[in-house]
Symmetry: D2
Subunit: 454 residues, 4 copies
């Protein structure tokens, strides 16, 4: 649950600025820390806790001169929100300065680290990115970049979309199963690689294509070269990017996120119709699907809930005696739209269920006659080990309860989830090319020695 | 263009927290500065530049103990963004500590200030609120609160929605023409007054009614009393609150803002129909009208543009060489939704026209076949002197150009504004009770000695 | 207990910088807040809590353009450390923008404020400076500057050294009794007024003379004019400036502070001789007197104590279990200098006695055979109402205890204070021209309606 | 030019606080960054740029729970003032968490780093401390702590006083030549190791002795053990600690710094007598020697210069047009003490000579008849490669000029340096046990492959 950017820009004064705008458009992928490393004469790096816009200002960006940039926004899971774990991770090695920005999660992280420690390696962070950096440094001692990546690939298990710079060589690399997205764009200024196409748009570049699973695109002296590091017959494209995580204006692996979510809404309307007066999203994540649901069902689209757009990460939580306000602070009902109405609420997913309950109650308080809940994904029953910060199995309400039990718990008149088939129809990617682990429990790679997200 | 809150809460430990949540829900009314003054044993005040959430934290709120609170968020016009001008404005007087939060603008501010200066008064700020405070202090020397307000009212010309505390007496007062809104709510904890009903909802209070033009509601020792300070036959309720400024989940002077905007969209569709494939809002302000337009026209509702929800006030503007990005940073097109399509874009208003042009161009770049622009208000032709920060007449594109000229300038295939009649139909308030000055040039009070917004 | 600076500088780009350096050299007079107001086209003011060097940077100073500057550093007594009370105090009036920096304390502050409040005046701060500003503004309505100052003078009771600017007129004014110092310097760039001559030296100006008690020096269009506002036969020059408060490199009212303190040490040695091996200051305040004591007594000067020069205002106080460290953090003994020795410690004064006890104990712990304490002032028995932040009478150890009792309490082998006659011999100013109230209890003006320092 | 602290404290809640007070008393050894790492259940580390008091507060210290602490203050030479280089340096290894605080400089740093890089090691900082950490980690794979230190010692060339923790084992280690000091103290709470004895005093511990060159003192489970890692016949104790760097209240390798400096003054008076009226230190560094000079010469001790005690590291330097003020801001003359007098100024050393010139000029401006300069050390002619941040040879005025040429350049009437013999007499340590490289050019270890200080 991170965003990565790699930029090659001919004008060394613009590189950091472009990286900033790209990262800014990926802010939804991580709000914990942000960093940009630029290679000019030497590496210069600025990292900090907080939003892209908090960490950087014009002054700082101006000091980051060079043609090659690696950027990162990070979402940290519990415990790890330390500046030490912020990325990009930069190390000085025999082969040059290596900079890495990583989106994903290695399931054999601890095993690899222990192996390196036995050889005397030391670690300054608790991130799997440092393991990748040390492995790569060792491999580059006796191998060229391509071979080093091939050997690296054999050692890493898990998801790893990487932007790497080795001195002034820029590499965009996606693991063979292609868990997390990576887009490739071109502009007059040069090249841009980023987690989502919206970050290509942000710098007014043209989306060329996605970096393919197992492919590395290498930029050297302004020339690009594509190398297949490892081919895998199956893929494991993260379906959750389409359901929730990516921005709706992004196109990932050839599929428009907006279109997928819109189709989800339509299919949901077909699969689980309901008599109602209005269809409303739970803002913001349910919006696109709600529009599709309204169109397919013919029920009027009208917003039951308005989100306070100033809600951010660091909001002061209600103190003792005001706890009931926790959802109310974030959104409010439009009473006129729900009073005496039968309301269908569309959300992208239900994780723990507590927020859904509060929302349903709020809509009822506003006078709704009935509240029907429709969810744009099948029930989430298994934790993710590949980079999405989901709860442990116990916290996933759908792993413990039936749909009917959940309906009762969230106090809805009816509740329906999208079917897996419905989801596949909307995504239009072959089932065997998707990672559906959180919905099915079938992990595309062995995770029995796995550790939680990092 | 400010937001005000007044709270009487029996539990002196909750007052500041409740005020914080109310103010937070009014953040859209002003992001320049925020302040809360609480009267307990003495007055305690915390003010700062920036967002409510930046100025306050739990620690700070805990120090603000007392039953009476006055809160303010401020939007400053050019030049005035200094901490000296932040509100609430607090003064110590013979009659007690007077705290004032003001939404509005006095057109006779300079005349009043000069008059007071001639008597030897000194001023520490450049705000009209200080003039009100000094006048009130003088009047309270020889009059009780009601009489003082009556006499004050005779002196003030312009718009003034005021939350005042005089030691532990709380007063919510709205000028006789009722330019700016003021709502009154009740809860177990006590009473709340706020610029919009969403701030009543925010603290889980019940909206009782609006404070009426010319009415003062006074809270003393937990008892409330309504007093009519001055009655005016006509009113001048700001129509722009409905068009743009207020939150859609608010109900102002009995009219749901959402319903008004939704009707605007419907009437616009009837008045200025167009053959098209999709209707899309310019986010976020055009959303509610676009939903109405889609419903009335039967054209599919689909988002052409997605806004980056992390865009805030202090964003780093593109540096030289990247100026073209200024709109691109804020929003992006959903290419799949517009490619080859005839698109209707709905916005609430056009002020200078430069942003509209960039948006139309962006949608065309994304492949739209046609771009039609529909505006949810009549052309803005005159500046506002009553508190909405509009441009000078020269900057208002509609004061210089015909609709056809504007269409060309923003590069749209067609352009239509809502008619004044259409607007009145949507708002459902009598024409003579509205201030339509910005749309008609007819000011409800004489402004020839007026000064710009403050 | 404040420092004031007024500068007229022909080069409007240098004015604020010069004021900064002057203020910086007066930092010992107040570390609570700092402020500079510069009058160019309009007034520009920057104030902040903390040290001069924390509040200002090059960037900020550059924005303060103009020929006239008023600067202030403030030491606040209990309760009043709020930004609202920071100076200079700026008000807009009929007669122009009035800026005031004040060193001193009005004893009739509350009476004056109540009088003004009865006329409807309002107050935004709790400082007596605001009262002075409002009185002056009223007087300027119908009087020229000189007459206004004369009338102002008749109303103010207490100490008030003022730097005032009225638009581009600069005034340096000292109350008729001349409690607090005010120096006048000249340089190529223009004129400088400051609390102490070290601030004249700081900007490489030449000390011309002191502003005399009751004198106002007015700078208008680069021309200076001296006016006697009120003549008083007696004066009340604060003796504590010489004893403790002023910097040793300053010359105040014609007397070198260094020379006074050095003489104090010599006279102390004559008045209260002692057989000992070394004389040491309690750093830093006892240094100059200790040098004089050593010279007169013939006892070797050697430092028993070394101060940690990084100790500042905001030091983290020892937590529970480490309280004993409070003095140890600030200074340490030089064991080799005291072991087995008879040590004379020289300090400038004893207020509460608790620190003296800890110091004597520390020197004993380091192995001193005997510890003799000599104090460079007579016992402090009465509180100050004119601007020095002394304790209430109960806290002044010398108001409750005999010298012998104090000796026991601080655990010294002998203790002697300087006699009042000795002090007068050292200061070389006529007794009737000095304020000796803290040492004698005889106040130069009536203080029975007085309020604590402000 | 750094300060190190290691503490074992039985009460895990006090450890960080004690370390803070120790570090605070070593602040003069480094103002660039400060850090404390505490080992409890796991390592916790807080590092930051700036002063000890800026980096830590009570809140932060409270979070650092554990019995073992390693602290560091750092003075960085040009280029290296980055947070990445702040210490202590913490790494996770197979043998546990290793924390290192280092005072000194490795002359074979780059060679060692290159050697490690060839084995695939990566480096995140540019500090030699990271090299030590990686070497130690490798050695600990197959050796116990003592053997690992012995082997480490064979690889490191240069100066290295180290505080190391390996999980909950604390090690204080001093290189075989003993360049930089390291003291050992004991208290009820446990043990403390620190660069100077003033840091032992600061926590009210008793100075037991110095850690000897080549000795490691290991604290495990509260038990201490002394191990000789390597014995060297000769030593190379840094003489500059006595001349300038250490605090006068410290005792280093059995010699009181105060006594050494006082003797320096006396010997200087004997070696280079002068007829004069007053002896004054250049504050603060010349004070102790000036006291000795005055005693031996019989010339009156009187301060010609007063230092502004608020001068800190981050002072705003005078802008264009005010450059002449650079010394004036830091100190001022006491005119009465120098006017018409023959003045002897005592400073500890002269490096580039530019400041000395400004001081002499300032004293002359204040009216001195003659200004004689006496320096408490022989001329500095060679750069230091062992941790003192001296200039390159070209910048050292004494490496280019004769004493007479320097006298002219600093505009003194006479100039004399202490002789090397005089210095040795004052220090009372055998010549062969001292590092005198900066004064003689004879380096105790080969530095021809050396790199500048780090």
């Amino acid at each position: 649950m991170c965003g990565v950017v790699g930029i090659y820009c001919k004008d060394e004064n613009l590189t950091a600025h472009l990286t900033f705008y790209s990262l800014f458009s990926l802010q939804h992928r991580g709000q914990e820390s942000a960093g940009i490393a630029v290679f000019g004469d030497d590496i210069k790096i600025v990292k900090g806790m907080g939003l892209v816009n908090d960490v950087f200002d014009q002054e700082t960006l101006r000091t980051l001169k060079g043609k090659i940039a690696v950027g990162h926004v990070r979402y940290s899971t519990t415990g790890g929100s330390k500046i030490e774990n912020a990325q990009p991770f930069v190390v000085r090695t025999k082969s040059g300065v290596i900079t890495i920005a990583h989106n994903g999660n290695l399931v054999n992280y601890l095993a690899l680290r222990e192996e390196l420690e036995k050889l005397g390696s030391v670690f300054v962070s608790e991130s799997d990115t440092e393991v990748i950096a040390q492995l790569l440094a060792k491999l580059l001692l006796s191998h060229d970049i391509e071979d080093a990546l091939k050997l690296l690939c054999k050692r890493l298990r898990g998801s790893y979309t990487l932007i790497i710079s080795i001195d002034d060589t820029l590499i965009a690399f996606r693991d063979p199963l292609g868990f997390k997205p990576l887009c490739f764009g071109k502009a007059d200024f040069g090249y841009v690689f980023a987690s989502e196409s919206c970050a290509i748009d942000a710098v007014n570049a043209k989306l060329i294509r996605d970096v393919k699973p197992g492919e590395a695109i290498i930029v050297e002296n302004g020339e690009i070269k594509s190398v297949f590091i490892e081919k895998s017959k199956k893929k494991a494209i993260c379906v959750f990017e389409y359901i929730y995580f990516a921005r709706p204006d992004s196109v990932i692996d050839g599929r428009s996120v907006y279109e997928v979510r819109n189709s989800i809404g339509k299919i949901l309307a077909e699969e689980s119709p309901v008599e109602a007066d209005i269809v409303s999203p739970v803002p913001d994540s349910g919006t696109t699907s709600a529009i599709g649901f309204a169109e397919a069902s013919g029920i009027k689209y009208l917003e039951a809930l308005i989100k306070n757009r100033y809600v951010g990460r660091t909001f002061i939580m209600p103190s003792q005696g005001l706890r009931e306000f926790s959802v109310r602070i974030k959104m409010n009902t439009v009473k006129g739209n729900v009073k005496g109405k039968r309301v269908v609420l569309i959300d992208d997913s239900i994780v723990r269920g507590t927020t859904s309950r509060k929302i349903v109650d709020m809509v009822r308080d506003a006078g709704a006659k009935e509240v029907h809940f429709r969810v744009g994904s099948p029930p989430i029953i298994s934790p993710c080990y590949f980079g999405i910060d989901m709860q442990t199995r116990e916290e996933l309400i759908a792993s413990r309860k039936t749909v009917e039990e959940i309906r009762k718990e969230i106090n809805a008149d009816s509740l329906a989830y999208l079917s897996l088939d419905g989801l596949l129809k909307a995504v239009k990617i072959k089932k065997e090319d998707l990672c559906l682990a959180c919905l099915t429990g079938n992990y595309p790679i062995d995770v029995d020695s796995a550790y939680g997200c990092r």
